[in-house]
Each structure stands twice: as C-alpha cells, then as structure tokens.
C-alpha cells in the first residue's frame, strides 16, 4: 500500500468504530471496547508506518506525502481536499496516535470493565459502586461498571476521527471539519455524565466558549479563501507572490496586513480551542468529564489541535509583526496567569487543567517570538507528559474512589489533594509514573523531556531579545515547578490524611500500562531535541527534531547558538521551584495551613463571574425581557438583570477587586442599548413567512442593485 493511501486510511477506523458501536455493538460492552481499542490500534499502526516512512524520506519538507481528490466544483476549477504529511504532521501524528491509543486502553480500566453493574447506577451519572457478596458471605462494595460504557467508546472514536482528520488534512477546510467534530465530541464527552448539573453546565460552557473562537476562525478561513482561492497549505505558503501581497502592511483594520488579519482571526480560533486567555474559562470546568476525556481533551488532542493549527499557519502568521506581538503577549500572559491560579487549586485535576493552559501559553508565546521548532517540540513533549499526568491523576482518583467505597463515606472528595497523602506506598506504579510526568512538566534538568523543550523556548526568547517574554516565562516556569511539587507532595508524600487515602488501591493493568508507556516517552522524547552545542550532552544524540520539523518551513529556522544564561535560569527555576514546593508542602496538612489559598487566585481572578456579568447575564436577561417582561420598562428590566447576575457573587468581592465596577458600567450600557434595539426591531418579527420572504426579497433586490451598479455592468 502506498503511503498516501495509508494516510487516507488513518482516520477511518475510529469513525467506523463509532458507527459500529452506535449502530450494532451498543449492547455488548466487551465487543464495543474491542471495536474501539482495535480501531485505535489500527490507526496507531498506520500512523507508525507513515511516521517511519516519513523519517526515511530525505527533505520531506520539500516533498511531503500528498494526495488529494476533487471534491467540489467551483466554477472552472475544483475545490480539492486531500491529505498531506510533512515533517510537522508526522511528528504530531506520532504523539497523537500513541496518546490516543493509550487513552483508549486506559478507558477500559477507568470505566471498571469486568466489574458488576451498579446497585442503583443510572445512565448519565458516574457509577456509584456495586455490592457483592463473597464466598464467605461478607458484603463488599466494589466499583461498578459505567452504565454507558459503549457510548463512551463511540464518542472517543469519533473524537479520534476528528483529531486524525485534522492532523492529516492538507487544507484548512478539512482541518476545520476535524476541529468542529472535536468540538462536538468535547461537548458530548464533558457532558458525558449529563445527570450532574455541573457537567451539563460545563459542557455548554466549553461548547459556547470555543464557538466564539470558531466563528472568528471561520471568518478567517473565509477571508483567506476569498483572497487566495485556495485553502491548501502548500499552495498558499508556496506561492511567494501571494504571500508577498498578503504581507503588504497597513491594508486593513488597525494597520494590520491582510496576512496579519487572517492570522489573527485564525488565532482567535486557537485561543478558544487551546483555552488561552481570555477564553480559557471552559477548560477547568471541563474536568467534569471522565478522566480519560480530560487527558484526551487537554493533552492529546483538542488543545493540541489549537496550537497545531497556529503552527500550521505559522508562515502566514510570521508575515505580520503586529500579529506576532499579539500572539506573544497572549501566550506569555496566559502562561503566567494560569500558573498563578494553579498554585491555589486543591482539586488534583484542576491543577493540571490550569497547568495545561499555562503550558499552552508557553507554546503560543514561543510562536509569537518566532520559535517555531521550540513550539512544536514543546507541543509534542507536553502532550506526552500531560497525558501521563492526567491519566495518573485519574488513576489516583480511581484509587481514592476505591477507598471511598471501602469506608462508605461519600462526603470525602476523592479529587481533593488535601484528602490524600502517602499514596506513594499504596499506588507505587502510579506514584513513580506521576513523578516522572511531574518532573517532566517542571522541566527537571537533563533527564526529562520537559526540560529540553522548555529550555529551548527560553533560549529562543533570550536569543531573540524578548526580555519581557523571557522573564515572564521563567517566572511561570518557576511557578510550574512549584505547583507540580506541591501536587506531588500533597498527593503522594507524607502520611495519609484520611482513612480513604489509607485504603486507596493500585489500579488495574489497563490503567497502569498506559502510564508506564507514556512515562517512557515523557523522558525519552526530550533526547531527540538536545541542541548540538549543549555542553557535555550536545552531539551525543543528533538534534534530530530540530532538523526534521524545521524542514517543514521553506526557510529552515536557524539553530540558536548555545547561551549559558537561559540554561542557568531554567536550571534554577526548575530545581528551585521543586525544592521550595517540597520544603513548604511537606509540612502542610490541610487547606487552612496553606499560605497560597489566596482568594483571588483560588477564585481564578473571578473571570467566570465577570463573564457571567458581562456576557451571560445580559443574554439571559435579554431572553427574559423578550419573553416575559418585554413591556415593562427599562428599570424593571435592569432589576431583573441584576437578580440572576449578582446572585452568586456577593458585592464584597467585587468591590474589593474593582473590576466589576467597570463591568457593571459596561453591562448596563450594553443592556440598555440592546434592549432599545430589540424594542425597536421587534415588530419586524411577525412570524409570517410571506412577510419575511418579501423583506428578504426587497433586501436582495436592493443589495443586488447596489452590487450591480457599483461593480459596474461589466457582465
């Protein structure tokens, strides 16, 4: 089979698995997961073959694997869709296929396959455990199998399909299709336990927030297509004349060039998908989903997809200096901003969620300063160790749930780190793998993958003279090490702080094997990117990654000369953060003793509340006005607006932080304007289809006439 055919086939097995499970094997759990995992294996195998074939091609960047078919006739030509694997695609495919495979496998254990059905489990709620009687007549409570087990694998399959489609696409349109499939799946998966109101809300939040970004992205795609007539990456980037035209500065809004505007629009899509500030709010809430989902969304696929898209569009992005600055700012700001929040979180998964946001900020910042390869490198290493950490945390939670079932005290939150402690002895495999992941995340020097990739970003920032970026990222890196160690210390070290932690248990092999596999990559993958001139180690292994991925670009990025300053800094921040974290938290036994439980951080800078006031409140209010209180005056409306909006917040915090005052001001103005507009325009909406049609006809005629006369009758 040719490599091109194989690339076409990569996304298919998960999609087939989705349909198979939904249509046929739904009833049979074993068959469903066999189909699901089997599909993941097939895709993985195909990806590996493609990856290794890609390795063996000289100058893959200039001659990637491409194959496309006619899809849509557009006037005289065809819109073609197809697949392409260039070095970047191959590198991403590598980690995506491995993590997806591991997550599929892990899900089998996580959803308690083989355990009895729960006593009173219901669809849409997490399993509560089942009572079994052993041969001695003792009753035990054991974990029960997920009631919607098959459905989970179906969703995962569709999700994987979306991701593979995105990675192998050679054009923005199919990339966007994959992107949106993932958006749908993340909605379905976050809301997987739809019986929980919080999960429902989180699902809607994730969907709506990413939708904001997607709208801009679609605008960007549309603009790009209308300007270039193609969405194929190679056709756009390979056309120097076109790129030159696009790069002409100052032709659009705010003095941006066309390229800058397009890149900015596409970047906003990424901001939504990769949870960058200010659209980061959905990601921590997405923790309501099952843990494999968290790993899937936050490590392997969706958030990576956002960064991947920006990396893909990098040639376009790099054309405009202003856009680059915006990107660098957002990335850097997100990195430090999320890192500070992560320090104050107690939920084991939330810490990781904010850590993800922060690390994605690193990548975005790297792109913003032009460090293309470093961003891609960090994307790959991060995917490995963050998947490892999420799966590890899932394993911890699973172990803790075991303890909770044992004691029967359901008031203990199995995700709160202050309820853990000393799990090192109970769950040794989880501990060691988690430790590896944590160290990789903090950038433990020399050994771990995280060190090499993060170091490269810092080195790039230093070398290109972005001092502000460098300092901020270094601080964020320090915080990263600190909160990672806090997490490890609280979770695994010391003595158990609750009875539940004492009875925690190691998880089955389906969960630990993925952990071990991923930890190998969390360490080893860094070694392919050691700079050539690094003291002592440089040159032991060839700096393969830089050469390989760098080959994607037409102009190969330069190798940064070695500089001791960033190296020292990263050594200091990593080790210092880890040390401080350990020193401080080994003595902390409860949340009260923790100095970093600063309300502002703990409440995530009140972004959720602020959005509630600024965006969600008005919308709810508006709909209420339109349905119920349309005829009562502005005053009444504003009162109703304040009711739901301020209910949960409390005036104290808002006064203290100052932000809401501005928000209130803006909110009020917005609301009044919206209401007036609505009041004025309401009579138009009569519900009578013929009047609608008449109106649209008139508008069509007017617009058509305008266009006709403005464009000239040059028909």
């Amino acid at each position: 089979m040719t490599t091109e055919t194989l690339i076409w086939l990569i996304p298919l097995p998960p999609a087939l698995a989705f349909f198979l499970i939904v249509l046929f094997t739904n009833k049979n759990k074993a068959l469903s997961h066999t189909v699901g995992v089997g599909a993941a294996v097939l895709s993985w195998l195909a990806s590996m073959v493609v990856f290794f074939r890609a390795l063996s091609v000289e100058h893959l960047g200039e001659h990637p694997f491409v194959s496309s078919v006619n899809w849509l006739p557009t006037g005289d030509t065809w819109f073609r869709i197809g697949v392409a694997i260039d070095p970047l695609g191959a590198a991403v495919l590598f980690f995506v296929s491995i993590t997806i495979f591991m997550i599929f496998l892990y899900s089998v254990g996580y959803h308690n396959f083989g355990q009895p059905a729960g006593d009173h489990d219901r669809k849409g709620l997490p399993p509560h455990g089942a009572t079994v009687t052993d041969e001695h007549g003792h009753q035990h409570v054991v974990p029960s199998v997920e009631p919607m087990y098959s459905r989970f694998f179906a969703f995962l399959g569709l999700f994987a399909f979306g991701m593979y489609t995105l990675v192998v696409s050679d054009n923005l349109l199919t990339l966007f299709v994959g992107w949106e499939i993932m958006g749908l799946c993340s909605y379905l998966l976050i809301g997987f336990w739809y019986g929980k109101p919080s999960a429902r809300a989180a699902a809607i939040k994730a969907f709506m927030t990413t939708r904001i970004g997607d709208v801009f992205m679609l605008l960007g795609i549309g603009l790009l297509y209308s300007l270039t007539g193609t969405l194929n990456f190679r056709e756009i980037f390979g056309n120097e004349e076109l790129m030159h035209t696009l790069a002409t500065p100052g032709t659009t809004l705010f003095g941006l060039s066309l390229a800058g505007l397009i890149a900015l629009l596409l970047f906003i899509g990424t901001v939504g998908k990769s949870a960058q500030w200010p659209l980061h709010v959905w990601l921590p809430d997405a923790m309501e989903g099952p843990t494999p989902v968290s790993a899937m969304i936050h490590a392997a696929t969706m958030v990576s997809a956002g960064v991947y898209a920006v990396i893909r569009m990098f040639p376009l992005l790099s054309l405009d200096h202003n856009t680059m600055t915006v990107v660098a700012f957002i990335g850097t700001f997100t990195a430090i901003f999320a890192a500070t929040i992560a320090v104050a979180q107690n939920d084991i998964k939330r810490v990781l969620a904010y850590s993800t946001i922060s690390q994605l900020g690193f990548m975005i910042a790297a792109l913003g300063i032009g460090a293309y390869v470093a961003a891609a490198f960090h994307l790959v290493t991060h995917a490995f160790f963050k998947a490892l950490l999420f799966l590890g945390s899932g394993s911890v939670i699973h172990g803790m749930e075991h303890g909770v079932l044992h004691t029967g005290n359901h008031s203990v939150d199995p995700q709160d780190m202050f309820n853990m402690g000393g799990l090192r002895k109970k769950m040794p495999i989880t501990f060691w793998t988690f430790l590896i992941g944590g160290f990789a995340l903090s950038g433990f020097p020399l050994l771990t993958a995280g060190f090499w990739s993060k170091d490269e970003i810092l080195a790039d920032a230093w070398a290109n003279g972005h001092l502000a970026v460098f300092i901020t990222l270094a601080t964020a890196a320090f915080l990263t090490a600190f909160y990672t160690m806090r997490q490890i210390t609280l979770t695994f070290l010391g003595e158990p702080r609750t009875k539940e932690a004492e009875h925690a248990q190691e998880t089955p092999w389906t969960m630990t094997v993925p952990l071990m596999v991923l930890s190998v990559f969390a360490i080893g993958y860094g070694w392919v990117g050691i700079p050539e001139d690094f003291p002592l180690l440089g040159g032991l292994l060839p700096s393969w990654f830089h050469e390989f991925v760098g080959g994607t670009l037409a102009e190969h990025p330069e190798v940064i000369p070695f500089n001791p300053v960033p190296l020292t800094v990263s050594l200091v921040v990593a080790l210092g953060g880890l040390l401080l974290g350990w020193l401080y938290y080994r003595n902390v036994n409860s949340a009260k003793e923790d100095f970093f439980q600063i309300p502002l951080l703990k409440n995530k800078y009140h972004f959720d509340e602020a959005y509630q006031v600024v965006f969600i409140g008005p919308v709810i209010w508006l709909s209420e006005v339109f349905t119920k209180w349309a005829d009562q005056g502005v005053i009444d409306g504003i009162l109703h607006f304040f009711g739901p909006a301020t209910g949960g917040i409390g005036a104290f915090i808002r006064n203290k932080i100052d932000l809401p005052i501005i928000n209130e001001f803006i909110g009020d103005g917005l609301a009044a304007v919206t209401q007036e507009t609505g009041r004025t325009l309401r009579p138009i909406q009569t519900g009578r289809i013929q009047q609608y049609m008449m109106l649209s006809l008139v508008i069509l005629a007017v617009v058509g006439a305008l266009l006709y006369f403005m464009l000239g009758a040059g028909l």
Partner: protein
C-alpha cells in the same frame, strides 16, 4: 417567423396563462389542475429543447406524483377553506408589484447580456443525451456524488415527511 417559433410562443403563452391561473384561481383543486397544465407546458418546452428525458421525467414526476400529492393534500386540508373567503392576502398588490419588479429586474439584467441572442447549435449526429446523462450521473469524475446524495436527500425527505405529518404522538384520532 418559423414553425418552431410559433410553436414556442403558443406553448409559452399557454403555460404562462395556466401559471397565472394557478396563482389566482380560488378553487384549490382547480389551481392544482392548472398547475398540471403549466407543468405539461414546461414538459413541452423541454421537448422543444431536445431534452427528451427531462420532458418525460417532468410528466412522470410532476404530473404523476407531485400533482397527485398536491390534490391529496388539498383534499386532506380542505375542510377549513371551503373555497370561500379571500384567497389572496390583503397586501396582494405589494406582492404583485414585487413580482412585476422581479420580472422587470430579471429581464432588464438579461437585456444587456451579449449571450441573449445565441442560437442553438445543431445536435451532434449520433449524440444520445440519455447515454451522456447516464455517463455523467454514474462516472466518478462527474456527478456520482450528487447522484448518491440525491438518494439520501429523498430518504431524509421521506423519513421527515412521514414523521412530521403522521407522528402517532401528535394524538390525532382522525388518522
């Protein structure tokens, strides 16, 4: 004026007249029957255009199925509208104005077009449009996707129509 032109003018006049009756007749069954006449006129137009397949399909699909369905639908819903009361909206003259304007706009736009007075080229000898159509519909380089999608569209329409109109849950006893 050639024979073909005379035939065309007669057909067009009859078709437009019946179309006018379709939109103005009070009795809906008559409107449906006038629609049949219009559709037949369109079928004749296809025949004039050497599109024999379209002409026959027009009769099979429109007169044989769609018109029948219309007549059945009128009979299902006629209890209410016993051919009484106004059949046109109170603001019908706006609609008339819009329709006239649309016609004027279309013709006006076409007027300046240089392709207007094109004459049809002779049909190539031995050219069988059915064969060409079969090739176009089936061959993967042409319209096989629309061909299959049409099937899916019709399936969706069938499912949707059956579901919408005769959903047992609507609790209708007259079925």
């Amino acid at each position: 004026m050639t024979t073909a032109q005379i035939i065309f003018l007669v057909v067009a006049a009859v078709t437009l007249a019946s179309a006018f009756m379709v939109v103005t007749t009070r009795n809906l069954i008559h409107a449906a029957l006038w629609l049949v006449a219009t559709l037949f006129g369109v079928a004749v137009t296809y025949a004039l255009l050497d599109a024999g397949f379209l002409a026959v399909v027009q009769v099979v699909v429109y007169i044989g199925a769609i018109a029948i369905l219309f007549i059945f639908a009128v009979m299902l819903t006629r209890k209410e509208m016993r051919d009484q009361g106004p059949q046109l909206n109170s603001g019908w003259w706006i609609s008339a104005l819009l329709a006239v304007l649309t016609f004027g706009g279309l013709v006006g736009m076409l007027w300046g077009w240089r392709g207007m007075d094109t004459l049809a080229s002779e049909m190539p000898v031995g050219f069988d449009s059915i064969n060409a159509l079969g090739d176009a519909l089936i061959s993967p380089n042409a319209f096989v996707l629309p061909f299959e999608v049409a099937s899916v569209l019709l399936l969706a329409a069938l499912v949707g129509a059956v579901y919408v109109a005769f959903n047992p849950r609507s609790g209708d006893s007259r079925k």
